[in-house]
């Protein structure tokens, strides 16, 4: 028994001696460590491939009937509500002119504003300018003038019509879009600095569905960053937190009111009335 004890003591002593005696030689292991790096990195890359998907469905209710919110951009910000508190406050404080107020402010004609409204367009690029808007009772003065300039410049009336937007002023053509983009860019940049992760964006299809794919597991915020115009109201989603799990597709229904399966309800506000003074839609 004592002999055995003595042996184990000896072994303990040997084990204790090994590390200290090898310390001066540990630098010799450097090449092995360096060689092992790619293997570790490869393993980590495999781990990151375990991603999840968020299936977004944006279906606000109009007259008690839900409808897909088509062709709207939604953004995915890394982190949950708590981590993005400051950013969310900023989003909520953001003010942006409504479409109608913008065009009234730049003194667009009533016919021009009606043409945009008719097609629910944000800019002149959304639909073709048909001939009926160039002459006669339905003529839009801005289009008429641009068409006449284009017909001379481009030698043919048809090219004058098809290239009509090249003869519109910057403000009329895409000023509203640029104004919104500037506000969005500032918010996205702030979010990316705060979260140290890129902000992803997707556009909804006709049914209000969109997908965020290849997401690393964790918490995210889904938001439209700027209020979306929706009939005579605006809606802003800022409190939508979604938890992504690896290998799963998370259905995430958003609306303006709470009904079955709705995961996040946006804040709805009436569109402000526009007058001669600059009007903004604040959140």
């Amino acid at each position: 028994m004592e002999k055995a004890k003595g042996k184990s003591k000896k072994a303990k002593v040997k084990r204790a001696v090994l590390p200290s005696s090898l310390l001066p030689f540990t630098f010799l292991l450097l090449p092995f460590c360096l060689c092992a790096l790619p293997v570790v990195a490869h393993a980590q890359a495999n781990e990151t491939q375990a991603t999840g998907v968020v299936r977004l469905r944006v279906r606000p209710k109009v007259n008690d009937k839900e409808k897909g919110l088509a062709r709207k951009r939604f953004y995915l910000i890394k982190g949950g509500l708590a981590e993005n508190k400051e950013l969310l406050e900023k989003i909520n404080r953001q003010t942006i002119q409504t479409r109608e107020c913008y065009y009234r402010n730049i003194k667009a004609s009533e016919a021009f504003i009606n043409w945009l409204k008719e097609g629910d367009c944000e800019s002149v690029y959304c639909r073709t300018v048909e001939e009926k808007y160039l002459t006669g009772a339905s003529a839009v003065p801005e289009f008429q003038a641009a068409y006449e300039r284009g017909a001379k410049e481009y030698k043919t009336p048809e090219l004058g019509r098809l290239w009509l937007t090249t003869n519109l002023t910057d403000e009329l053509r895409d000023g509203f879009y640029r104004q919104k983009q500037a506000a969005l860019k500032a918010l996205i940049s702030e979010a990316e600095i705060a979260t140290k992760a890129p902000v992803l964006s997707v556009m909804t299809d006709r049914n209000g569905t969109a997908y965020f794919t290849d997401l690393t597991p964790g918490s995210y915020l889904v938001t439209n960053l700027l209020p979306v115009e929706f009939g005579d109201k605006t809606i802003l989603w800022t409190t939508c937190e979604v938890k992504v799990k690896a290998g799963t597709e998370i259905p995430f229904l958003m609306s303006n009111s709470s009904y079955k399966n709705v995961k996040c309800v946006g804040v709805e506000k009436p569109l402000p009335a526009c007058d001669a003074n600059r009007q903004t839609a604040s959140n």
Binding site: F25, L69, D120, E130, L159, V228
Partner: protein, 357 residues
């Protein structure tokens, strides 16, 4: 003491081996080592080529925008529009090569070298003082020296309308027609403004695998040339016609345009009767794409599975029936969507996931 000595010797030997034979130490690092060597070799070759190029035997039959002296402002050589725009393009365009004046300043000697100066063959089909015929600008059959800068997402934003609108055309329809009937006759811009259904299916050299001939309407077109750009970007809307670099980025390697789209599911046709959904219904990642460089309009299998996963009709091949057959026979080739070179590959995880939920 002896044991300690042995251990130290073994460590020293291993470390020495690691330094001397890094390739053998670990396979992964060996690959990295080889790649490093390959890069070094490639660097040496490139430098040798460069020095060869500096030799007097210059090839004046090819023009390169990569030559340092050819990288001045574009409008020092290219005029927009060119004098021939009406006959050549039908719209204001850069539709012809620069004039002699752009070249002769530096290359006077080459212009008058011999009876048939080789420099003329860059633009002219025949080297002859009596024949001024030129190639079609800008030699469309040749690879481009430029990459296209095109923010796909921005264009989707401005072409999309706001709010509810049932009158969007399906992008699976030919431009100007509407699957969702539009009683007002208004034409809304959307994907179809740039991507039309291809009336004639392009065939690659050597044909498609299995001699498969995709029917007309299988593919969509992609914009080529200025026709799809200048109608908005001719002036005022930047980048405009005189800001070539706004869209064209000089590439260090030749850029070959794909004349035939590459598909995993070659048997899918956009013009299929049932394939009338909106583009983004299947191309679910397309709206997040910021650039066209490296763009792959991938369609995940889930988009197909909504209709093709199962069927109660036993005579119809579905993903499920083919998946089962592959399970029974590893050599089974999935043929409903794929030609054989794809159909015989291992079943990808995305497909397996459809049946593991």
């Amino acid at each position: 003491m002896r044991v300690r000595l042995v251990i130290i010797l073994v460590f020293t030997a291993l470390a020495a081996a690691g330094y001397l034979f890094p390739r053998v130490a670990l396979n992964a690092s060996g690959e990295a080592y080889q790649q490093g060597n390959r890069k070094k070799r490639a660097g040496r070759t490139a430098r040798t080529n460069q020095s060869n190029r500096r030799n007097p035997a210059k090839d004046y039959s090819e023009f390169s925008h990569r030559t340092a002296k050819h990288q001045g402002d574009c409008n020092t050589c290219h005029k927009a529009p060119t004098a021939n725009w009406q006959s050549a393009a039908g719209f204001p365009d850069v539709a012809d090569f620069p004039t002699h004046a752009s070249c002769v300043g530096c290359h006077r000697a080459e212009f008058f070298k011999g009876a048939r100066p080789v420099i003329c063959s860059i633009c002219h089909t025949k080297v002859s003082p009596r024949d001024g015929a030129r190639f079609a600008f800008a030699k469309p059959a040749q690879p481009s020296q430029f990459n296209a800068i095109f923010p796909h997402d921005k264009h989707q934003d401005v072409l999309a309308a706001t709010g509810f609108n049932k009158r969007y055309e399906s992008a699976h329809a030919v431009r100007g027609t509407s699957v969702v009937q539009d009683k007002s006759g208004q034409k809304y811009n959307n994907c179809a403004i740039c991507h039309e259904t291809e009336a004639v299916t392009p065939v690659p050299a050597g044909g498609f695998p299995d001699n498969f001939q995709p029917p007309a309407g299988t593919f969509k077109t992609a914009p080529v040339g200025h026709a799809s750009c200048f109608n908005c970007h001719w002036k005022t809307q930047e980048p405009t016609h005189n800001d070539c670099a706004g869209c064209h980025q000089l590439s260090q390697t030749d850029v070959m345009m794909l004349t035939v789209p590459q598909r995993l599911s070659l048997k899918f046709t956009h013009a299929g009767e049932q394939h009338v959904a909106e583009c983004t219904t299947c191309h679910i990642n397309i709206t997040r794409v910021k650039s066209v460089v490296g763009l792959k309009p991938e369609v995940p299998i889930t988009s197909c599975a909504s209709c093709h996963k199962t069927s109660t009709d036993n005579t119809i091949a579905t993903i499920e029936t083919e998946f089962e057959q592959r399970g029974r026979d590893a050599s089974f080739v999935c043929a409903k969507c794929h030609t054989s070179e794809v159909g015989r590959r291992a079943v990808p995880a995305s497909h397996r996931a459809l049946f593991t939920e």
